[in-house]
C-alpha cells in the first residue's frame, strides 16, 4: 500500500504539468460553451502523452492521473479513452475516441478517429469518417457530435465488451475527478473574495459545510478512480464510476448555488467543468447502470 506516485510517474506528471501550464486560464474574451485547443492536442501528441501509460513502469495509474490533470484545464481534449482504453483494443485504432450510446449524441463524436458503439448488450467498434458523423451545438462543455446514419460496426466478444465497459468506467471516473476538483477550486476562489454582509461568503458556515462535503466527495472519486486504474478490476471500476456520477449530481448543484448570478454567466468559467460533469451523468446508463454493475460485481 503506497499512495505516492513512483519516480517514473512523478517525472511524467511533472512533464505534463509543464506542458499544461500554458493552458491554465481561458482566453479573457471567451464567452462560449465549449473550449478546445488544437495546440494543446498537438503538444500532447508530440510529447507522446497519449501512449505514455503503455510503458510498464507508468501503467494505467499514470494514465488516470494524467486524465484527471487534463480534466482540470478549462480546455477540453479527448484524453481519457486515448490514454486508458486504447491500449486494451486489439488492432490499430486511431484517436480521438468517442462513444455512441443508444444512438445518442456523444462527446468528441465529430472529431473521432474511432467510435465505440454501445448498443443494447452489444459493444462494437468502428472507424469514424467525416461522412458518418456531424457536430452539433450543445450546452455541455465538450464538442458534441452524432451519427448521421446508423453505423456499421464490428461487434466485440462478450469478454472484450466487458473489458471495454470496465475501462470506460475508469475513464469516466478519472475525468470526473479532475472536473470536480477544478470546479471546486474556481468556486473556492470566488467565495474567498466576494463579500456580503461585510464578510467573505466563504466564512458562512452554511456555505463552508457544503463545500467541505463536496470536497470529501471529489477526493473520494479521485482515489476510487486511481484504485480502479491500478487494480484493473471491473468491480472497482463500477464503484468509481458510480461514486463519480453520484457526487457530480450533488456537487454541480451546490457550486452553481454558491456562485449566484455570476455562475450563470458565460464570463465565469464554472460551466466549463460543471456542464462537462452534466455530460458525464447520463453516460454508461447513468447511476442506475453503474449501481447495477456494482451490485453484480461487488457483493459475494
Amino acid at each position: 500500500m503506497d499512495f505516492a506516485l513512483n519516480s517514473d510517474q512523478i517525472t511524467l506528471s511533472s512533464a505534463l504539468d509543464k506542458l499544461v501550464s500554458r493552458y491554465l486560464s481561458p482566453p479573457t474574451d471567451f464567452r462560449g460553451f465549449c473550449l478546445t485547443s488544437d495546440t494543446l492536442e498537438q503538444e500532447l501528441e508530440q510529447g507522446g502523452f497519449f501512449e505514455a501509460a503503455q510503458i510498464p513502469e507508468l501503467g494505467p495509474v499514470a494514465a488516470a492521473a494524467m486524465v484527471e490533470r487534463l480534466a482540470r484545464l478549462p480546455y477540453t481534449v479527448e484524453a481519457a479513452l486515448s490514454m486508458l482504453l486504447s491500449a486494451q483494443l486489439e488492432g490499430d485504432w486511431p484517436r480521438p475516441f468517442a462513444v455512441i450510446e443508444h444512438g445518442r449524441p456523444g462527446r468528441f463524436v465529430a472529431q473521432a478517429g474511432t467510435l465505440i458503439i454501445l448498443d443494447g448488450n452489444q459493444v462494437g467498434i468502428t472507424r469514424a469518417s467525416p461522412d458518418l458523423v456531424e457536430s452539433m451545438d450543445s450546452l455541455y462543455g465538450y464538442p458534441m457530435g452524432r451519427l448521421k446514419s446508423s453505423a456499421v460496426y464490428t461487434p466485440l466478444s462478450a469478454a472484450d465488451a466487458a473489458n471495454v465497459h470496465k475501462w470506460l468506467r475508469v475513464a469516466l471516473a478519472a475525468e470526473a475527478a479532475g472536473l470536480l476538483q477544478a470546479a471546486l477550486d474556481t468556486v473556492i476562489e470566488h467565495l474567498s473574495v466576494r463579500k456580503q454582509f461585510g464578510r467573505p461568503l466563504g466564512s458562512f458556515q452554511a456555505v463552508q459545510h457544503r463545500m467541505a462535503e463536496s470536497t470529501v466527495l471529489a477526493r473520494g472519486v479521485r482515489l476510487l478512480a486511481l484504485k480502479a486504474a491500478w487494480s484493473e478490476d471491473a468491480g472497482d471500476a463500477a464503484l468509481a464510476a458510480l461514486h463519480a456520477q453520484e457526487s457530480a449530481t450533488r456537487v454541480v448543484y451546490d457550486l452553481h448555488q454558491f456562485m449566484g448570478a455570476m455562475g450563470m454567466t458565460l464570463e465565469f468559467p464554472l460551466h466549463l467543468w460543471s456542464y462537462r460533469l452534466k455530460a458525464l451523468l447520463s453516460e454508461l446508463d447513468g447511476r442506475a447502470g453503474q449501481a447495477k454493475a456494482v451490485a453484480a460485481l461487488c457483493f459475494n
Binding site: 459545510h209 473520494g220 491500478w230 458510480l242 453520484e246
Partner: protein, 378 residues
Amino acid sequence: MEFSWNQQQTEFRATVRDFLAQNLPDNWESIAHGPGSASQSEFSKQFCARLADAGLLVPHWPRQWGGREADAWSSFILAEEMWAAGEPRGGQYMNVNWIGPTLMRFGTEAQQQRYIPPMAQGETIWCQGFSEPEAGSDLASLRTKAEKQGDHYCINGQKIWTSYAGEAETCFLLARTGSGKKGISIFLLPMDTPGIIVVEIPSLIGEGDIHEVFFENVMVPATAMLGEEGQAWDIVRTALSLERVGIPRFALASRMLQRAVDFLKQRDRFHSGAAEQAARAKAACEATRLFSYEIIDQRQKGITAGAEASVARVATVNCERLVAEFVVEHLPETLASGDPLLLAHHQRGIVAGIASGAAEIQLNLIATQLLQLPREPR
C-alpha cells in the same frame, strides 16, 4: 502507487483472523449487549489477555512496554479486523490506541509503572472524562474544577456521555485548574476514589454505554496529574492526533452491508431498488477505506495528517449512514430482533458523527484548513 498488501501485511491479517476464529465464541455477538456493558467488559478482559499473550494487543508499542514496534499498517490492520468483528476489545481499544502511548510520552515513571503494564496485559478499563453538560464540541469551556489543597487537588463537578464509566478502573480526566485553554489539567483518577458517583444513562447505543459522572470533593494526590498544570490542551491534541483517523468503522459497515445483502438474496428480496442503494453504500465504504489508508500511508512515512483526517471522518459518517439506512429500509426486522451484529452495528452507527469530534467540527476544519476558506467571525 500501490494498492495491494505486502506479504508481511497479508500474513499479519491472516494471523489476526485466525486468532479471532479461535478465540471469539460462537455466541460472541450476543454477549455484547452494548460496548460498555458489564458482560462485554468482563469478556474484554479475558479476550484482551489472550490477545496480549498472542502478541496482538499492543504490537505497535515499544518493546519496553510489551510491544514489538510494529508499524502503522499493522496497528491499523489489527483495528480493522477487531472492529469488523464487532470490537471484542470493548473500551480497551482506547488504552491501546492513545491512552497508553500518551502516558508513555507525558507520564512520570511512577504513573507509567502503575498504569501501562495492566493495559499491555489487557486487564484494565479506562474511561475518558472529557464532555460536560456545558462543554461538548466546545470542550475548552469545561467547568469541572480541581483546586490545589496542599499536596492534593480537590475535584468538584460533572462529566457526561462518559463511555465505559460504569466498568472503568481509571478515568483520564480533564479538570480546570485555571482560566482559559491553558487552565485545564489532566488527572489519572482511580474510579474507586471516594466522592465519585456514576449514573448510567439509558441509551439507543446499548447497555452501559454512556454515563453521568459526578465528582463531589474528590481528593486526588498531585502526583496523579499527567504532565504539568495547564498542559491538558497540548497533551490532548497530541493524544488525539494518534487517533485522528478514528475507528475503522468502514470495516464493520462494509461487512454488515454484505451480510444484509446476503439476507436479502436468501429471501429473494434483493430487487433493483435495494441493489442500487446497496451499491451507493458500498462505494461510500470503499472511498472511506481509501481515505483511511491514505492517512496510514502518511503516518507510516512520518507525516502527520492534517485536515485529511477530517475528510476521512466525514466520509466515515457518510458510509455508516448509508449502510444503516439501507439496512433499516430493506431489512426492517433487524431493529426488531434477529441478527445481533447487524443490530449492534445499527445501534453504534448513531455515534459515528458525534463521538470524538462532531462531524460539523470536522467540516469546519476541512473548510478552513484544507480549502482555506475564511474563518467564521467569532
